[in-house]
């Protein structure tokens, strides 16, 4: 059964800190792994990682995929209060859907 586990479930940091969010997975047939940010509304897309694209970066956010060890990390450097959100990791499932982890709630204090 395809499965996604995110850790930690919650995290509190101060502005300027660097954070690393973890996503480990089990999958029969890997298609993709996606990261989303959710701020009390709909999830918004951040990154998609595939066999041909195992590293992505956008500004202060970056993500890598380790297909051998079956995990991905999302890094946020120089955190800001606007980074406070729930970060979701989704695994491309066999039905074309995404199988989501429970998310990591990040709180950035001023």
């Amino acid at each position: 059964e395809d499965k996604v586990v995110q850790s930690p479930l919650s995290l509190v940091v101060h502005e300027g800190d660097t954070v690393t969010l973890n996503c480990s997975y089990e999958v029969t047939n890997f298609r993709s792994l996606l990261w989303y940010k959710q701020e009390k509304k709909a999830p918004t897309f951040l990154f998609m990682l595939t066999s041909s694209g195992i590293e992505k970066k956008s500004g202060r956010l970056s993500s890598i995929l380790d297909k051998k060890e079956l995990f991905s990390i999302l890094n946020i450097t120089a955190t800001q209060t606007g980074d406070s959100a729930v970060y979701l990791c989704g695994l491309g499932g066999s039905q074309g859907n995404l199988i989501f982890g429970k998310g990591t709630k990040l709180s950035v204090k001023p």
Binding site: R31, S32, A42, P43, F45, Q95, G96, N97, G101
Partner: protein, 112 residues
């Protein structure tokens, strides 16, 4: 932002009544999905569609049915709502399996 709308955005209903939620897209994406989001469970797939009149069940499909008669519209029906179906419902669209999904604004449903 991807052109996805959901209606209604909020609904309060009583146990046993039928409820239909609508998802409308203007992106002409082939795949459409219905998820529910609950505390402690995250996002879970209810049903999905891979084309007009082509639908299939997801992880938590019991008590729900769907229909897709046009590319742009995907309807989710609760035939007889129960309190356990109180949740936030998100529609999502995608060009294909494993590709990025774009989410609608969500519908908050409360079943009393």
């Amino acid at each position: 932002d991807a052109g996805i709308t959901q209606s209604p955005r909020h609904k309060v209903t009583e146990t046993g009544t039928p409820v239909t939620l609508r998802c409308h897209q203007t992106e002409n994406h082939r795949y459409m999905y219905w998820y529910r989001q609950d505390p402690g469970h995250g996002l879970r797939l209810i049903h999905y569609s891979y084309g007009v009149k082509d639908t299939d069940k997801g992880e938590v499909s019991d008590g729900y049915s769907v229909s897709r008669s046009k590319t742009e519209d995907f309807l989710l029906t609760l035939e007889s709502a129960t309190s356990s179906q109180t949740s936030v419902y998100f529609c999502a669209i995608s060009t294909g399996p494993g590709n990025e999904q774009f989410f609608g604004p969500g519908t908050r449903l409360t079943v009393l």
